[in-house]
Symmetry: D2
Subunit: 328 residues, 4 copies
Amino acid sequence: MTEVALFGAGRIGKIHAGNLVRQPGVKLKYVVDVNEAAAAELAAKYGATVTSADAAFADKAASAIVIASSTDTHAELILRAANSGKSIFCEKPVDLDLGRARNCAQAVARAGVACLIGFQRRYDPTFSAIKERLSAGEVGEPELLVVTSRDPGAPPVEYIKVSGGIFKDMLIHDFDIFRWILGDEAATLYATGSCLTDPAIAIAGDVDATAVTIRTRRGRLAQINTIRRAAYGYDQRFEVIGSKGMLQAANHKPTEVIASTASNVSSDKPEHFFLERYRVAYGNEMAHFFDALAKGTPMRTTIDDGLKALELAEAATMSWRQKRVIEL
Amino acid sequence: MTEVALFGAGRIGKIHAGNLVRQPGVKLKYVVDVNEAAAAELAAKYGATVTSADAAFADKAASAIVIASSTDTHAELILRAANSGKSIFCEKPVDLDLGRARNCAQAVARAGVACLIGFQRRYDPTFSAIKERLSAGEVGEPELLVVTSRDPGAPPVEYIKVSGGIFKDMLIHDFDIFRWILGDEAATLYATGSCLTDPAIAIAGDVDATAVTIRTRRGRLAQINTIRRAAYGYDQRFEVIGSKGMLQAANHKPTEVIASTASNVSSDKPEHFFLERYRVAYGNEMAHFFDALAKGTPMRTTIDDGLKALELAEAATMSWRQKRVIEL
Amino acid sequence: MTEVALFGAGRIGKIHAGNLVRQPGVKLKYVVDVNEAAAAELAAKYGATVTSADAAFADKAASAIVIASSTDTHAELILRAANSGKSIFCEKPVDLDLGRARNCAQAVARAGVACLIGFQRRYDPTFSAIKERLSAGEVGEPELLVVTSRDPGAPPVEYIKVSGGIFKDMLIHDFDIFRWILGDEAATLYATGSCLTDPAIAIAGDVDATAVTIRTRRGRLAQINTIRRAAYGYDQRFEVIGSKGMLQAANHKPTEVIASTASNVSSDKPEHFFLERYRVAYGNEMAHFFDALAKGTPMRTTIDDGLKALELAEAATMSWRQKRVIEL
Amino acid sequence: MTEVALFGAGRIGKIHAGNLVRQPGVKLKYVVDVNEAAAAELAAKYGATVTSADAAFADKAASAIVIASSTDTHAELILRAANSGKSIFCEKPVDLDLGRARNCAQAVARAGVACLIGFQRRYDPTFSAIKERLSAGEVGEPELLVVTSRDPGAPPVEYIKVSGGIFKDMLIHDFDIFRWILGDEAATLYATGSCLTDPAIAIAGDVDATAVTIRTRRGRLAQINTIRRAAYGYDQRFEVIGSKGMLQAANHKPTEVIASTASNVSSDKPEHFFLERYRVAYGNEMAHFFDALAKGTPMRTTIDDGLKALELAEAATMSWRQKRVIEL
């Protein structure tokens, strides 16, 4: 039985707890959160115990931790877990600061502990089917990638101010998809952006719409377009063109109803937001973590992937600010 | 805490057990199956106890039963549950014999126990969204219904011989959909059929493809087409035309990948079979059962619905055999 | 140069005239219509001459006629053309009366003149691609056919009164599709119907919604559903299931715009009505007529096809009136 | 009757001739081509006369010309037509050299002659419906545009060498779409590219895949991705996101057949190439030209549009070569 300490009893913590308790041979032992009421409620639901971080790290029987607390706590928890020899499941990002993130990666490597960074999209049935079919050669070598990533609405400006900016907060997922799907690293990157949906975002020093172009070392091309507010909801598509064809990830919908009226023929909008759209992905991700732990096989999304995506986010931020192409 | 005895530890029993244990305030207390190994395995997975039917019925604390055993056991279990005052969740059909099914319905009514018959399709997100939108008047009064119901492959002929025939075994779901969606009862019914996929089915006295037409009391029209073997898989669609438009239930797919090649543009086949296609529906159905029990509200799919669907299946069988239109 | 006399300068006559003048080696010589203004306008547009039926038939140089006049004139024009040795392109139906239609067929056969009956759907790119792929064995032997045939609105009741009834007026196309796609003839037919959209149609002795089931000599099954008024427009679909898969004809749309809004994701309604939906088919049909004339090859849609569809329409009318299954 | 001289009897000349003769009040008087056989054949088909450029320009009765000859002849023909006071329909581009193109624009302006440049995509039913719906405010102010423009295969390298490069040859259409749909002009432009499909293209000094990003004066963002060889055919899509939703132009297909097999569910590939995909657009474009001539209203695609698209193509070429962002 693998005993686990969960850090963070908020929205995403609850998702992970629900998936965690469904894994065979896994037990949610502790819930840690500064919000004691939230911790107590979640612990009660699954028969776990509320405790402190110190106590959780001190319990050698708790051999794995799941980090679902706020971003500014990730680095310290990763370092403590590495020092305690515990396996780590950590929500993205590793940290907003590249230096601190690198320290974490080094600590994890030194300690030799398993570490999964939560790029949940790689566990989505549609996205992972494309990766598999691409790897099987169905459309030949990949040449061109177009990623469409749009949110149904911007978060509060107070959040945006501490988010690290749109490239680190929102596009970090898209940078990870880029690396994973094209199987290559960026050689040059150009990013531009605008504040189109809410002037308060510009005042906060950020943009809410971006256009990024990456050329890889092998000459492959990728374009990413994002916007914080798509009136029709959460738009999560990409398409990869290879020498023999194209694979596209289309949006998922809540139902498959088609309505034909005097106006038009319509179907549902995409799944509302990431909790709905990636519900299955979060479940698969947690299953993969414990399966890989049990088998001693590599994690699909490593702390190195976390670093690489962060480096691209930093380069994009620099490109946008300095209005120039960045060589990586 | 509602304590439950589950009868049947086979394929569908496992599905129900998994959904049952997820309901708040519900405990899987007993698993009963003539296959003791299967019962033991399922009981162990969820911390339940293997016991006999007699013991399960004798335990007054076990106030609800879930019947997932073979069809020929349904009637007796319903009767015993009614006599014991237990709430009943029973897989369709009530019984293959209309007389026995009526006895069950009378026993349930006399005892005043809650009883849900497992027409799981009514709990499917796509199907139930259509029912809601229809009830909300989105396409006006329903006029015409077309039901497409095709299996990926026929069951073994040995099963077909004891199945009660295709109209009771396969179309009973479609008859229920017909009644539910059109909100009306059949006035005349015509059914024809052919054996097109496997001559052994004809030798067993059955057909593997059918075409049914129903005209309702209010003059609404319905057509059902079925086949036991659709090469492209499990095809579960219907469309209802009203005075202001049409609502269609399209198939669900495992992923939303679209592949474009030198040959064509393709997407996934439909979900493989009923366990995959109605996975969410089975979960919703179990949640509804316990929710309605807790609130004392009516079940969405009652034993009377079970009788009505069975009556249509009998009429269809007669129509097919006698090659004539049946008045109901 | 093939010189042609066109009978009928109304809506469909104009379509045929426009297609006719585009054929290489074909000249529109005469336009004949009791409405002289209409005849004059159409003749002027394409440099043809207005004349009488007698004069047109008397001109031996005019070796072909196109019949686009009202249904009650078809039979006489066919007979005169056959007697004059002229090739015939005639809009469906041959006649509303089966006896008169048979006389026409005999006259055509005796005279040995070429005769195409205007079942234009067989010339539609989507429909004819399905026929070709079916013939090529792509989905194996056909087993099941579902035809959806819905009009955007009913014609005036005055028209309905002289139309021969919905089965002859509207479903005659569907009966032709049935024969063409399944490549088989009806053994039994059952038709029912209702008046759901306009009580005046019932008073006129007709129905506006029908459900037809046909079982063929080889045991194949077909269902046809129709309605005179689909709020979302002209719905022209069919699907044929074979042992190896299914081919579906989906609706055609005016544009390929997809709109995503806060409400839903929508596309255009189907092409408005038959003139728009079958615009290309009408062109292909005319090209086929003159191509087959030039090459002396058979017409794709013969007067015998016209008879067979009419026989099915008569059987359907009888089935509906007598509420019973008809053996053919 | 407007009499017209057509320059060029090749592939696109034939298309224009066929559309031209269908316009009411328009007569194809002359066909001019250095390939006399081609000119003779096309002239014969439509009852026109083969003549020389000098003779055509000398005939004052021929008040309009259609330029469908090779790109290097456009500028001279435009200048001669302007000097002769003739109306001009000219295939894109005006010229590969921006200076010469500007001279043409000035000559046209001085002469006050009507001039349409053949950006046929603006006349496509799907594309123009999007423009209309956008102008009607259906999705609010446009914010983001993604253009996908992929050819089924590269032209011969010999052609590529004299084509002016991919940005002038292929993307010029996309630059025009960008200006038309966003209703704004570029402020900055970044283009990168790769040679991915055929090394001979790189040797010829060109690329076969490009990624372009434009930020407009009002801060709107556009991304264009292109490739010379898409294995699945001619891919012509764009999507524009506004504050209230998104409008997408999907590909057009030859038929609406859907095939479901044991492998997948598939539909046709897109229309093969521009002659098929924009067949209706070419017809609409010619109709618009003569309609605007007759009414004296402005052309939808002017020589100024031709200049602006060429300026963007030059900027893109420079951006790609110099690996930097260009300010416009």
